[in-house]
Symmetry: C2
Subunit: 188 residues, 2 copies
DNA sequence: TACCGATGTCAACGCTTGTTGGCCTACGAT
DNA sequence: ATCGTAGGCCAACAAGCGTTGACATCGGTA
């Protein structure tokens, strides 16, 4: 129990999942077709159905995402923003899953729900551990989300020239005080 | 010249455009079908084609958007952020066109380009007039965009509970210093 | 070697989509 | 009153979609 018995089809399953992530990230949910994903993976569309059941379930499998947020409570106050912004940037750029989720969330209800789950299950708890008023942690986490999601949208989805071209260090330097304030400043 | 001769079909054209905006805003570009738009407008799908030629051109007509940004240079420095955030919120909520554009921009190239045009043609010039270093106005405008687009995504697209439920005044109070800093603070 | 389940291919289904052309109707000018 | 034209509807097309079932093929086991 616990460890799955390896199957001979595991490489194929992995190829499908990788192709699905790329297509969902590039095209969104509806424009990414099973046929195109299968072609990228070099197999027949029917295999996708056999191994994942439906397009919905394929997306659910491909959009499993872990932000791997660090524990901020070990850090000195004042460095939260810097660490958070830098972490988001590197995490996003090392794994296309988040972009797939973000693009799909604009028009797909399941993707939107998954995004809310990531917020409630991963972002909010980390914020709650370091903010001065845990009763209002969700509000502060939401504010952090507005800034970080906006960065993702402008940099990766819209590819707004000044933001897409900005070096990561400069992004961190600009956004750091914003995140810091949302986490720690007295509520207005 | 200048004034178009009124046509007997103008009410129908307007009904199509209104229905198109609603559908594009609710469903995005690909899931909003010509048939559904025509049904909402109470006419035949063929009429949409006759008056707008294609789905692409219908979207182009429906996604014409003017932010109607005020001239900030008449204001005392220090009130830019407050006025800007409040203006965005009321403008977005009074006209579904922006939401249609935002949803569609996630997966539709024409919508994305239109979004970049709104940025370059409407946001950047206003920012350039009030920021201390016009040579870097685009960078500052881009930063403002990250915060405002993130607000729009979290509040209207994802409907993130803490942000969707937050009163407009509270949003303004929280985001005001962020916008102010992106507009005026020395570059890092 | 003979077998059986897992792996993979192929062709087709039913459905929805954007788009087109033909036909009917009603209005406004002559 | 008549005629041309613009407004509107209906039926159909070709294409693409997710999905399905029947058939081939390979690999480990008895």
């Amino acid at each position: 129990m616990g460890t799955e018995t390896p199957r001979r089809s595991d490489p194929t399953r992995a190829a499908i999942l990788a192709a699905a992530r790329d297509r969902f990230a590039a095209d969104g949910y509806e424009r990414a077709t099973i046929r195109a994903i299968a072609a990228d993976a070099g197999i027949d569309p029917a295999m996708v159905m056999r191994y994942y059941g439906s397009k919905d379930r394929l997306f659910a499998a491909a959009a499993e995402f872990d932000l791997r947020l660090p524990d901020l409570s070990e850090l000195p106050a004042g460095r939260y923003g810097e660490v958070l912004v830098h972490h988001f940037l590197t995490r996003w750029e090392s794994d296309g899953t988040f972009l797939a989720l973000l693009r799909a969330a604009a028009t797909n209800e399941a993707a939107r729900q998954r995004m809310l789950d990531v917020f409630a299950g991963q972002v909010a708890p980390v914020v709650a551990k370091v903010c001065p008023d845990p009763a209002h942690a969700a509000e502060r986490a939401g504010l952090v989300a507005t800034q970080m999601m906006g960065l993702a949208v402008c940099r990766y989805v819209l590819r707004l020239p000044p933001i897409a071209a900005m070096p990561a260090d400069t992004v961190v330097a600009w956004l750091r005080p914003t995140i810091e304030r949302y986490l720690s400043a007295p509520r207005p």
